[in-house]
Subunit: 409 residues, 2 copies
């Protein structure tokens, strides 16, 4: 029997990254796809000790139903840490524990989007946000970006032109997919532009603490005087992703709505994982742990950039991130990254074609590369092979230099 | 700033059960509210051993991102067990691991419901399903029930009268809130009625294995020849609820949609909890464990019924469940359960007013009682106090016997 489905299901399709990850599970593949953190830095021993002590001393409690809002002590730690590290002014009551920040995106769509409403986002933007929000049938309006993130004049023009604008979605710190970070003046300018409209700003910030040099920049939320910014945080990149632990922080009257909607979605986030994280944060030096992750990713990013500088043809352009997990490649416009991927997979090298990060399509000459999950020698070897594949494609389709320069604008 | 919200947020409000649970956390309260399983039967030692061995031997893997579908071995165990215990014919590929069966409800709403579509459900029905589905703005059409569950002739008439019927939602085994179980002929009749319409049947089955006498009945899905039934399962009542582990099982072409939609919602269910459950199921006698839970709940249910038989006035009627966690009370119609609750809480006894289980309201003279979470002597004492409160109310509002008899029809 053909069962009729909701209209929103028309836009739902499988993620390319996910299909790729299946392939990249084979050990011979050098994967620059996915966004996996380096598992060698997961605090496995510390988590095991936390599990033993939680189950020894409060087994019944950490296995029982708990409140939708999440572990009170964990919310307290998160609020205090955000305030210290990112300059915000949140109380524990203004923090909701979620199943990763991905759930924060799903809840945001439910709360703010009717079909036909407009989401303004960076062009390109995080593929998981496109997927989470698309099911609520918005229209995505892409705002042009440069090396400093979203171009705010362009945002302001689009806000003025779109009466149904409801959500501004941004990843201001070492963005997925480009690795770019917005400077302070852009953050301030965003708030000024948003202040003239009744829209919510979703600040998705998984990578801010993974800055290679210096402390993270203040969150956009830290400067929000109007209660207009919802902050999505996650422990996936700084602790481990498999436990699915993130949070939503924002003005109490908005966070209340997230709590209500989360209750219908899954009652609450898994209790034991929350306790494991809380015990870890109470017992160990989280700043020092993050410092180790930053150092490793900095090194891997450098290795990747050095190999790209050496092996890639000059017509290929790329970002030079100062943090995070990703960098972004623009090929000469004649090249198609999906075709390139097929050839690259034949050489056991995987990446994600950049077109998937544009909600309205196009930009098929772009590529996202992840540098966090492979050891140095495999990064070098993978880039060497990828460069060879690119050179072969260029040999078949000679480059018009002006086109490739325009493509970076 | 007032941020505009989606239209669907108009129907969203806090659950009464949840507000009550906050109150019932005080240790002096005898709580028949909530639906907490007995924590003294959580397999804490076994889970701890599983945690140690998972983190010792594959720490990086159980803390890393994993597939949306869930742990392959766990899906295999679930399919085999369902097929053995509930008579279904599922493969591991037709099972998706979810964050409790509550997430299965949320995903179902996303997949099948446009605003204005009709959900047919038992009257009364599970409050969490009302909450999960309401956000997709359906119209709930309540189908009358009797001691054998949904009255199928009434369902058939409503199906014929409602061209926008899309979902039939049922809890056929020891239903929450009534404790009733559908006999086999109702299950077959439901499928016959549904077969004439392009609707999906959501079979929500958290309590089937908690039958006090004899094995569980076959799932409705086991007799589904048309690929029309989606089965929602959970380990919350047979293992522990805090880990948030449930599943969706159904025809491959439907389960595929659940996978896609879940990916946008939270990427995947927490990895470590899945492994803990899988190791537990592979190492221990789950049937014997469930038998211990059944025996305890049977005993507690008997104690509650004996106390009610002894202390409740004859004008109060109630179900006599043969499994599950709940029983259902119908007071004389003049009484209002919400007012009764206020007086009862003053005596430190909590329950859930039954009106909350009717999506279209009314029925304020009903009550849901949970018997799984309190030891025997507290059940007896709580029922004694509750009976006193009811008698006081009845003294103020004398009962018309005919009305209360009609109220049971």
């Amino acid at each position: 029997m053909i069962i009729p489905m909701a209209e929103r299901m028309n836009g739902v399709r499988a993620s390319e990254i996910r299909e790729l990850l299946k392939f990249t599970a084979r050990s011979e593949v050098i994967s620059f796809a996915g966004g996996l953190p380096a598992p060698e830095l997961f605090p496995v021993r510390e988590i095991e000790a936390a599990a033993v002590s939680a189950l020894d001393h409060e087994g019944a409690r950490v296995l029982q139903y708990s409140t939708t809002e999440g572990d009170p002590r964990l919310r307290e730690i998160i609020a205090a840490r955000m305030n210290r590290v990112r300059g915000t002014h949140r109380t524990a009551d203004e923090v909701l524990i979620t199943a990763g920040s991905q759930q924060g995106l799903d809840l945001s769509g439910k709360i703010f989007l009717d079909a036909g409403d407009v989401v303004l986002c960076e062009s390109p933007t995080y593929i998981g946000a496109i997927q989470a929000l698309r099911i609520f049938q918005p229209r995505f309006v892409e705002v042009p970006t440069d090396d400093g993130g979203m171009i705010i004049e362009a945002l302001a023009r689009r806000l003025a032109a779109e009466p149904r604008a409801r959500v501004i979605y941004v990843v201001p710190d070492f963005q997925n997919p480009t690795g770019r970070r917005w400077p302070m003046e852009r953050r301030r300018a965003l708030l000024e532009a948003a202040a003239r409209h009744a829209v919510v700003v979703i600040e998705d910030s998984p990578y801010a603490e993974l800055a290679f040099d210096g402390p993270p920049l203040p969150a956009i939320q830290s400067m929000d005087g109007r209660g207009q910014v919802v902050f999505l945080g996650t422990f996936s990149k700084t602790f481990c992703p498999g436990l699915r632990l993130g949070w939503v922080a924002g003005p109490a009257e908005l966070v209340e709505k997230y709590v209500l909607v989360k209750q219908g979605a899954d009652l609450h986030t898994s209790t034991l994982p929350q306790r494991l994280l809380q015990l870890y944060l109470d017992r160990h030096d989280f700043d020092a742990h993050i410092q180790r992750i930053r150092a490793l990713y900095h090194c891997r990013c450098n290795v990747m950039l050095e190999a790209m500088d050496r092996f890639f043809p000059p017509a290929v352009h790329y970002t030079r991130p100062r943090g995070g997990l990703f960098l972004w490649v623009e090929l000469p416009e004649q090249l198609n990254a999906r075709e390139l991927l097929a050839a690259s997979l034949a050489e056991n090298v995987a990446f994600v074609p950049g077109g998937a990060f544009y909600p309205n399509g196009g930009h098929e000459h772009t590529i996202r590369l992840n540098f966090s999950n492979m050891p140095e020698e495999r990064i070098r070897e993978g880039i060497r092979r990828l460069a060879r594949v690119i050179r072969n494609f260029l040999a078949d389709a000679p480059v018009a230099e002006t086109t490739s320069v325009n493509a970076r604008a």
